[in-house]
Amino acid sequence: MDFKLTEERQMLQDSLRRILSDTTDHESIAKATDSITGLDPELWEQLVEMGLPGAMFTEDEGGFGGAGFDIMVVAEELGRAGLPSPLIDSALLSGTVLASTRPALVEEIIAGRIIAFAHAEPDSRYELSQVSTTAQQSGDGWVLKGSKAVVHNAAAAETCIVSARLAGATDAAEGIGLFLVPTDAMQMRDYPLHGGGRAAELVLDVTLDADARLTEDGFALIQTAQARASAAQCAEALGLMETIKALTVDYLRQRRQFGQPIGKFQALQHRMADVLIEIEQVRSAVINLCGHLDAPERELHVSAAKNLVGRTARLVVEESIQMHGGIGMTMEYALGHFAKRLSMVDHRFGDADYHLERFIALAQSAA
């Protein structure tokens, strides 16, 4: 039992925290959201040089990390800075798929190339097995038709991994193929996101070569990819909470009302204590998830963490804004960006209720 970071991870954390606090603030992030990539390209290059995507892969895969706690360390720092990045999509969603289907491409991801992951569809909500996009054999190759929804970083990616149904009912886990599709072969509508960064709606009617198909039965791989991405998302949420906590503590100390710092008001003190307790709970849930990414009970921890993070995110967002008062609702002050970004954690990979229901089902089938 040991909760200390290894020396390597400690170094990665320190340098990441330093570079992010030197180069980012909420205004530069907001500005980058308006750009086509949703991220300052120079900053991304710096992060790649530091080895950020590489830390998401094992040495066998060409990286230098790949464990749950590598994901935790990196994603928490990105969250702390409030920085949207292609890391979850390119390195964890696409990267996990490619590592076991097209290892050569992992090298390119480590080198900073962005490969987007287009799985969800306009009607699929959070159901991983719901795929209406079809793939049909056509001569040597494949014809893909359908729509993909809220694809993060699509405009910044030359290539997307696209899921399409080869067989089975619309919601069957079996028969979901994964394909590599050049982004410019698809119709794209790109837009900014409330929480920063950009995503796109994609419409497919494309013909692909035979080798575009990565796998003919990708559900398990998609689930593994999403488990790793969820770990990153939860750790990122933890980082967001840490910054929001720091902003709020600072505000409670500095801001005076009725002749004293508002942090002297006991009602706020007690509510802040409850917020702090829940953030510690989130840290433990993230540790539990990251420590079980390769364990049989992985999915139980995914749902436990997503549920707790979703519930706590709402608490932290609402309490931090409330304790700030009006200033907490403006985009001029940093809290606005962090709170909005945190309020979006429940709208990707399943919300707190979705995962509560899933936790119950998983726990009952395990019992």
């Binding site: 159901e127 837009y191 609702m329 979705y354």
Partner: protein, 398 residues
Amino acid sequence: MDLSYSAEQLAFHETVRTFLRDKLPERLSLKVASGKRLTKQDFEEWHAILNQQGWLGVNWPTEHGGTGWDAVQRHIFEEETTRANAPRIVPFGVAMLGPVLMKFGSDAQKAHYLPRILNGDDWWCQGYSEPGAGSDLANVQTSAVRDGDHYVVNGQKTWTTLGQHANMIFCLVRTSREGKRQEGISFLLIDMNTPGIEVRPIVLIDGEPEVNEVWFKDVRVPAENLVGTENMGWTYAKYLLTHERTNIAGVGFARAGLAALKRIAGEQTHHGKPLIENPFFAAKLAEVEIDLMAMATTNLRTIAAAASGQAPGAESSMLKVKGTVIRQQINALTKQAVGPYAAPFVSEQLDEGSNLDPIGPDYALPATQAYLNNRKLSIYGGSNEVQRAIISKAILEL
């Protein structure tokens, strides 16, 4: 005890419904229902329609061109206009300043300003809050110094809602630094076109410039624009805040929000069924519906007491807290119901003329924006913390 309306009240109810059916432009109700951005002209159009009917001065006595309605009638009117998705009545002139002028204004002020509120000549905004004051309203730093027959105003106001549309502002200003903080405040009416005034919009987390900062630099205001007596402004401000409290429970808004939520949760699918049939979601929705059923009756009890002449005590603070908690819970559930499409943020889509298709369902963007924007409900109009203090003080008497 009788929970139903009297025959007279039912008849009034019908009159309001008929008016709304005949006179509320569909263009406006569609915008409100779909969460589109309302322009200044939209508000002015609706004010004019109400004024023509004699129904703009909802809380005004007939002698000043108001409706003379009692609390129950006002409640029925508010409930029906909200249900019909009418734009709200912009409160600053009608609901806030009007009653203050009627009670404390000079005859000349009444004669000049009250008609202009109703006929739309003036758009008022509120100059109460200052940076760094927050809920501590008595902490007024903006100063007004008498210079001949003018006051010279210097300072800054903030959170001035829709100030960008206003040509007039009523302000709390400090005219004396002696005695208690409450004792040196005056209530001043200021033309926004006076030299030295600058308005800067504040963009909120929903991306909208709903509120503003207003700066005053050596702004000369005629002394006749003082309401009542110098240094008595705190009394008028408190009077205004009491009157602002009508419809504090927001039952109509909550009902409209709940109906929209049910529609959305009926359209979204979860495991192949409408989300509204999912017990986890349905449980939260039902709890807030049950809370709302009770709160609506608490509201009616308070209104009935007011109609029979009782002064509202801690009840309006209770309604403020519970009402905002319920509305915010409905907002949160609506955002939750939307699912992944709560994330895209294409603000232009909210413009009436926009021919941008929405990203995802058309209710998605308004749902997230309403969630973010309505965080304000528990902050403004006396934060819920201030209300809890009022409630506990009323009963603990400590």
